[in-house]
Symmetry: C2
DNA sequence: CTGAAAGCGCTTACAG
DNA sequence: CTGAAAGCGCTTACAG
């Protein structure tokens, strides 16, 4: 079933069917209704791919890429957006990319190819780091693009792309300061990796500066690299705490590792919030139910998803121009600090 | 940049460029190399959408739909598959659908439209229930389709689609039997909803039959409906346990609700595995680290993802025919039963 | 091995 | 308000 068939059955030309399909105004209500009925009767849907070759641009196609799928928070963001876009009749192209160690410029060029090949109406990228990528490459972005929780190269005056972020460095610093203010001198850093240059690395920068300001840089040796993996977080942190029983606090850079942190403390017969304080970061829901409930910073996922959606629609419909938005993560005191 | 441009720059015809792009054998190595170089130099990627209008079918396009995104397990499956497909140079069309209450036939017809519009090479559907949908509609599936953890209408002799499932009913029944064998007479059922007709509803069928076989159907009044939501699971179960202090075990149909279950018990001053036994189902990783570690059934996500991928590739390349695979979930004894 | 040409299903000025 | 026609970027028999 194609547009020609429908046209034949409706006794009109394919051009007319096309206009009905795309809600052109210059069609009489009579033929519009008639054509629509034929379409309905035959369950016809226009071939999505041909839209582009006909018109030179593919309408209602949005791309989304998640870099670093191990972070459950991006799932929440992705799913919220996915549902909104689907309900607004957008087709979604997406993939998740777990290879976050390759060359940034190469990766960016691959993305450009992806965008060019698919003639998207809009694009959303989650996570990652493009700090070394030259600004000229950003100029080549062929469609409205929003980077979400991505480390970006240049100043926020850039007007050829948008970004939505939270204040990772500030909250990371604050995370550490809260431990220091509580009087902790020996603090473990449960981070993804020292080589992580995503926004999670920015949190680590905050840790460093807070420690330096307090003259506690010795703690920078107390690092457990968990790579966002629970098993790894567990073994690395356990090793560290066994070697350094003087440690009285754990600063965690990502909630996905925190169940392992609680478990390490339990297995070492330490009570979180009493023997060892714990502060985490992200806002995964199960840490509100864990025993004890975990204190930490919470990213406003719901608002971020809404922000991305609204901005993307605004950009696609040319009602808004590119901007860089920073949401504030919120400190939520629960039971571990 | 289009195929004509590249052809001009390479001093060949568009047809030749097309053949190079699609690795046709009948091209001399010299021109192949030359054309490839021009393509590389200009960072050209063929317009994905035009492939279809040219050839009548879109190669390397796979669709995936997740129904009921609240289940974190599907994220794991989705991401595993997504990474595999992307690495194999497939483009992925996907969306998540959280409205699992609408009419099944209508929903199935929408999916058919989606498939017809996008001319996919293959399609994977996660979750849901199409039990009432007439077999003729399944015949209309325009591309190789695999249903994963979906409740399906007809017998496994159907050869026009594939399915990959685990033994939900059996393990659900076994879940309950294990509690009964331990001597429990008063058992709470922490389920999504009595109206859930997805594979999670199948687990409930297992609960019912196990209870009936033991003459303990009175427990069917002890139902907490959590809708896969932690807050709701918490409040519903708490209400139930407060009203029925005689309950000594909780049978949970989905791991996503289990952190709330543990928290309810904690807040009611009951020790899981001692005062109240808990058995869960799915295999979410954080329940291996919770305190206590949760006993339950684990779906073999890794193998399922591999199974889906291999089958899908086999179907697309016409090396395999449709089949219905049932993986076995595994009982893992930990600390709550 | 390469080119010339017809075709895919759609869209979009343009005529009337 | 509708049709006839040219066009989008690609593919694919067919000739030679």
């Amino acid at each position: 079933m194609n547009i020609r068939e429908i046209a034949r059955l409706a006794n009109v030309t394919p051009g007319t069917v096309s206009k009905v399909l795309n809600n052109y105004p210059d069609i009489s209500e009579a033929t519009r209704a008639h054509v629509r009925q034929i379409i309905e009767e035959n369950q016809y849907t226009p071939a999505f791919g041909s839209k582009f070759s006909g018109s030179g641009s593919t309408a209602n196609l949005v791309g989304m890429v998640i870099e670093g799928a191990n972070n459950a928070l991006y799932d929440d963001l992705y799913q919220d957006l996915s549902t909104r876009l689907h309900n607004a009749e957008y087709t979604i192209l997406s993939y998740t990319d777990n290879f976050f160690m390759q060359d940034k410029t190469e990766k960016f060029e691959e993305i450009l190819k992806y965008l060019n090949a698919h003639k998207l109406s809009g694009f959303v990228y989650f996570g990652g780091n493009f700090a070394g990528v030259s600004p000229e490459l950003f100029d080549k972005l062929p469609c409205p693009t929003i980077f979400v929780n991505t480390v970006l190269p240049v100043s926020f005056s850039d007007t050829n792309y948008s970004s939505i972020n939270t204040n990772h460095y500030d909250c990371g610093k604050r995370q550490m300061e809260l431990l220091i203010e509580k009087g902790h001198k020996n603090i473990a850093l449960m981070i993804s990796s020292l080589n992580d240059n995503s926004v999670y690395g920015l949190r680590m920068e905050g840790y460093k500066d807070a420690l330096a300001a307090a003259g506690l840089t010795g703690n920078l040796k107390n690092v457990a690299e968990g790579w966002y993996l629970m098993a790894r977080s567990y073994s690395e942190l356990k090793k560290l705490l066994e070697k350094h029983p003087e440690i009285t606090a754990v600063c965690v850079s990502a909630d996905v590792m925190t169940p392992a942190v609680l478990r390490v403390l339990h297995d070492l017969r330490k009570t979180p919030g009493k023997d060892v304080d714990v502060i985490s970061y992200d806002g995964l829901e199960y840490l509100e139910y864990s025993i004890p409930r975990v204190t930490g910073f919470v990213q406003p996922v719901k608002e971020m998803a809404e922000g991305v959606y609204d901005l993307l629609m605004g950009l696609i419909n040319k009602e808004r121009s590119h901007q860089h938005i920073i949401f504030q993560s919120k400190y939520v005191k629960r039971e571990t600090l």
